[in-house]
């Protein structure tokens, strides 16, 4: 193709891509056009001004790529959008759960302020009180205001609204989150808990685990006791998650971890990290298999199931 025609075509493409929001593609075409112009400068009379305007375009394109990348994944939506989230993304077959499911959906879509309002309404309903309370704490954390979570907890502590056992669960949840965040606030424990300190509490087990409570887990920390007073924590990224089952890819160099687990091992101390919050819980190793082909040959694929959060 005639060089001038080619340049013209590249610039035309770049314009159209840009107008469609295909900024990266637009940038590529501008850069190619600029290179062609430089190479053929002596045949192009107005090459200087052309190059100048192209480099301005490249700057603009880069700027909008940067803006897009920095765009937060969440944004406060109109009430209309929130109503759709609340009503259309509550999938429970159990009609009684629809309200709390709707509130959880709002939190999943980052509508924390509205989700908090909904959870607070649900606190009045005994069956869902604990779940709502836990989610209130998580929402405060997700909004990155741990102080609000602490204040909320302290309010509950001074009221008789939540039964001691539930308050104990909230206490553990929040204390754990704070620890993970490197915040050294020490929460005062509810009386019931203080008395039985040291005893581990009955964990909610898998059947009681609500699928909606399982958010996307991005990584896990697994603490394995090594000697009486020593333990080691292994951190892994999640390679895949399906419901409560999490798949981890583990290098064969991680002997010590692989040695301590097999199918059926209960991992008493598992930390689940999700984009919204962190939870401490229990998990069960459901399968361990060596990868026999492909680029990850020799690594191990380990499935663990969340037992309680």
């Amino acid at each position: 193709m005639d060089v001038k025609k080619e340049i013209k075509s590249l610039l035309n493409q770049a314009e159209v891509y840009k107008s469609q929001g295909l900024v990266k593609e637009a940038g590529d075409k501008y850069i190619r056009a600029a290179k062609l112009i430089q190479k053929n400068a002596k045949n192009i009379g107005n090459h200087k001004s052309l190059l100048q305007s192209i480099s301005k375009q490249i700057r603009l394109v880069k700027e909008s790529i940067r803006k897009q990348e920095e765009e937060p994944a969440d944004r406060e939506m109109s009430e209309q959008v929130q109503e759709i989230i609340r009503t259309k993304f509550a999938f429970s077959q159990d009609e009684k759960r629809l309200e709390i499911d709707g509130a959880i959906a709002l939190a999943k879509f980052g509508q924390y302020a509205r989700a908090l309002d909904e959870f607070k309404k649900i606190l009045g309903k005994e069956d869902f009180r604990l779940e709502a309370a836990k989610n209130i704490i998580r929402c405060h954390i997700a909004r990155d205001v741990p102080d609000d979570a602490v204040r909320q907890y302290n309010n509950w502590l001074s009221e008789t609204f939540l039964p001691g056992e539930q308050l104990g669960q909230i206490h553990r949840l929040l204390q754990d989150i704070l620890k993970k965040k490197g915040i050294d606030t020490l929460l005062s424990a509810p009386e019931e808990i203080a008395e039985t300190e040291g005893e581990s509490s009955p964990a909610e087990t898998a059947p009681g685990l609500n699928e909606n409570e399982i958010l996307d887990i991005s990584s896990v920390g697994i603490t394995i006791p090594e000697a009486e007073d020593r333990s080691r924590t292994y951190e892994y990224d999640v390679s895949f998650q399906s419901g409560s089952i999490i798949n981890l890819l583990i290098s064969d160099r991680d002997h010590s971890f692989l040695k301590s687990i097999k199918k059926g091992t209960v991992l008493e101390q598992t930390q689940f990290y999700s984009p919204i919050a962190m939870f401490e819980g229990k998990s069960l190793v459901v399968s361990v298999s060596r990868i026999e082909s492909g680029p990850k040959t020799g690594h191990y694929s380990v499935d663990i199931q969340i037992q309680s959060i």
Partner: protein
């Protein structure tokens, strides 16, 4: 499966427009909103970024009248196409009954089409569905750009890239001009209702 309310004799069907970023999903819904006045039962609601990229979804409710005494309501959704909104995309896909995969005819988006189809495949799998069985229509959008001299893939190439194994109905379209939008939707509704009837044993 679709949400069936026996008491109210209502069936709610969920159709999702899927595809890579900027391929024209939202534009499809905008055109449907204009062209299907009679069937549209409410406002089109868009949850988008400050630009016009979809952040969570677009939503458009429609009514198809009665089938066997049941009022059939259809909810159209689009997903956000940008790669980084993977988790929202998956949430929007939940409990889908029928799908339109919108592919971008621009050559520069060839790989993105394929990646997005694969992403759809994986997400469906996570929900226990298979892309080979779910009611699915392909749309090859932005055909008009070829007429403007931009490098656009021939339909035969897109068929080979995307539809070789699926073998589902496919339509060329120029959503911005409203072309091909209605046939795509109608074909998807037809497949979806067929599959629903089969599931209900009607």
């Amino acid at each position: 499966m679709a949400n069936i309310n026996l008491k109210a004799r209502e069936i709610e069907v969920k159709i999702v427009y899927y595809g890579p970023g900027r391929c024209g999903k939202t534009t499809n819904l905008e055109q449907i909103f204009k062209a299907f006045r009679k069937q549209v039962t409410g406002q089109m609601v868009s949850a988008d970024t400050e630009g016009d990229r979809t952040l969570y979804f677009d939503f458009l409710p429609m009514g198809l009248g009665k089938i066997k005494g049941y009022e059939v309501r259809v909810q159209l959704y689009t997903v956000p196409g940008q790669v980084k909104y993977a988790s929202t995309r998956k949430m929007v896909l939940r409990e889908v009954d029928g799908l339109v995969f919108v592919a971008d005819s621009l050559e520069v988006r060839r790989e993105k089409n394929m990646l997005s189809l694969k992403d759809l495949h994986m997400n469906l799998k996570d929900y226990g569905l298979t892309i080979f069985k779910v009611p699915l229509i392909l749309q090859y959008n932005k055909r008009d750009l070829g007429e403007q001299g931009l490098p656009v893939m021939p339909v035969s190439l897109m068929e080979r890239d995307l539809n070789r194994q699926l073998k589902v109905p496919s339509f060329p379209a120029s959503a911005i001009k409203g072309e091909g939008v209605a046939p795509t939707l109608k074909a998807c509704l037809k497949l979806t209702l067929q599959s629903l009837k089969k599931q209900l044993g009607w």
